[in-house]
Amino acid sequence: IGPLLVGVYVFVLAMFVGWQVITKVPPTLHTPLMSGSNAISGISIVGALLIAGQASDRIMTWVGVAAVAMATINVVGGFLVTDRMLKMFHRRRDTEPEA
């Protein structure tokens, strides 16, 4: 059983998991869900690191740096902005006098 087939199995199962998990998120949280899942798609940083770390010539180095930078923006920005949003959500009791 080759790597491509394995990938297909994993992809299909992950799609099911994603579908199940996401349909349970209430509308209240759809904006943070969108930015949070967006941050997760920055996982391609794994590939970006490989390019930048193993680059053997000028072009590859630049491709690598660009890939790392782009992926990092997505990851860092995505998780932070989601956190910024989510920390504003609170119940009636714990209302702090901050605007």
Binding site: G18, L33, A39, G42, I43, G53, V68, G78, F79, M88
Partner: protein
């Protein structure tokens, strides 16, 4: 790819992503969930840095410092009203990174004169295509949302046909590249990249600015698929899994938005709708003999202050006026006077799903004061005042009553059933869907005209003086 330990680290990171997303399903656990997902990302990064043989960390550091700085800055400074743009641009960068991963793999094979298995080739081409479309498409979406690119649909003759021909050409070139030795295909590969970037631009420009949030959600899904494709290229399960999760998430959110607007995805993508197109009609009833009753801030404040229950329906106009803090102040004042205040949040109020919830959370409105339409609609008859702040389509009764309306069938907040309704907006003009709103002319409705920030400030003052 690395030894067993590192593979298990990747598995752990994927599990943490899933658990993190699961916890985003409740406001109480959501922040922790986001942190768990971030830890998953950290684990994947560390596993890659330790588990793979790296020639140099210098360039990694350069890219990471630049990217972290930019990401940090953007995340900290963005206004909550500008979330759609923010997601769009992050999205674009993610898609771009995935595309670069596929590109680098191909160029490296070309340089070393290696051969290409077909399956591997297909993964690379998919990564380039989807990733590049995501990159350029997201940037156009960002531009439209930010007002840098014309919000209007840009159309020209034979647009769909020419886009379709371009796509066919790319599929042909991609297939040829997948089965040919990379060394001889570099030029055509550059064509693939350029054509993919062009395609991203061409498919987004004919879509109106107001439909951009749907496009952003769809591109969100694509950025996931691009990451999956990169995972196939690198045979990295963590990428495949995470990409599939995001792909599913984006698809679901796209579907929710389309259903909320009662339009098909095809209509959004190919309808050249929104963004200043003329009114779509509907509504009916002769224009001339209808008059909307007007009310001033003083009388409106009186009605609100002496009500038992008030339902507030915020909409896109609230975001435009940036008046969410004033609205919270008003709600608090009413609450102190013993009025029961509920916020009714329509799923597509504002410009992205859940947008109003974030804005009100920013203004410190507790989330247990926010209700879905289905929860408050049954209580409408017992509601003394429904206060509509910068919303329009989501309270349009013709969606329920007039089967010929352009928004017929779209769920609404039934403010017309409240004892008294007050609509705060600047004019009698239409909202996003361009549909006339008969609510304004009902006997139990009164208009409070003006920019929401100004009128809310006036209302707060009047209520305080009572």
């Amino acid at each position: 790819m690395g030894s067993t330990v590192f593979q298990l680290a990747y598995l752990l990171s994927a599990v943490l992503f899933i658990v993190g997303l699961q916890r985003i399903s409740s406001p109480e656990t959501a922040r922790g969930g986001n942190a768990i997902a971030a830890i998953g990302m950290l684990i994947a990064i560390v596993a890659t840095l330790l588990g793979e043989h790296m020639l140099s960390f210098t360039w990694i550091l350069v890219g990471a410092v630049v990217g972290s700085g930019a990401g940090l800055f953007m995340a900290q400074t963005v206004e909550m009203t500008a979330m759609p743009q923010m997601v769009a641009i992050f999205n674009g960068f993610g898609g771009g990174a995935s595309a670069l991963v596929a590109i680098a793999e191909y160029l490296e094979l070309a340089r070393t004169g290696g051969s290409l298995e077909t399956a591997h080739g297909v993964s690379i081409m998919a990564g380039v295509l989807i990733g590049s479309v995501t990159l350029s498409g997201s940037f156009i979406a960002f531009g439209k949302l930010q007002g840098l690119v014309s919000e209007k649909p840009v159309t020209y003759p034979l647009q769909k046909t020419s886009n379709f021909i371009l796509l066919l050409a790319m599929l042909a070139v991609g297939t040829w590249l997948s089965i040919s030795p990379p060394a001889g295909g570099v030029d055509w590969f550059y064509f693939m990249i350029a054509a993919s970037l062009a395609l991203g631009v061409l498919v987004v420009i004919p879509i109106g600015g107001a439909d951009m949030p749907v496009v952003v959600a769809l591109l969100n899904s694509y950025s996931g698929l691009a990451a999956s494709a990169a995972g196939f290229v690198l045979v990295n399960m963590s990428l495949i899994i995470s990409g599939a999760l995001v792909g599913a998430s984006g698809l679901i959110l796209t579907g929710i938005m389309c259903r909320g607007m009662n339009r098909s995805l095809a209509n959004v993508l190919f309808g050249a709708f929104g963004g200043g197109g003329g009114p779509v009609g509907g509504g009916g009833g002769p224009e001339g003999d209808r008059t909307a009753r007007e009310v001033d801030a003083e009388s409106a404040a009186m009605m609100l202050a002496y009500a038992r229950q008030v339902v507030i329906v915020p909409g896109y106009g609230l975001a435009v006026a940036q008046a969410q803090h004033k609205l919270r102040e008003l709600a608090d004042l009413l609450g102190e006077r013993g009025v029961t205040v509920k916020f009714a949040i329509h799923p597509v109020a504002g410009r992205m799903p859940g947008h109003m919830n974030v804005l009100l959370a920013e203004a410190n409105v507790p989330y247990d004061q926010l209700y879905e339409p289905d929860d408050v609609n049954p209580e409408m008859a017992g509601t003394d005042v429904a206060l509509v702040v910068g919303a329009n389509d989501v309270v349009n009764p013709s969606a329920r009553d007039d089967p010929t309306s352009a928004i017929a069938g779209m769920p609404i907040v039934e403010v017309d059933r409240a004892k008294q309704c007050i609509v705060m907006k600047r004019s009698l003009s239409t909202g996003f869907a361009g549909v006339d709103n008969p609510l304004f002319y009902l006997p139990n409705n009164a208009m409070l005209f003006g920019d929401a920030a100004k009128t809310l400030t006036a209302l707060v003052r009047e209520v305080k003086e009572l």
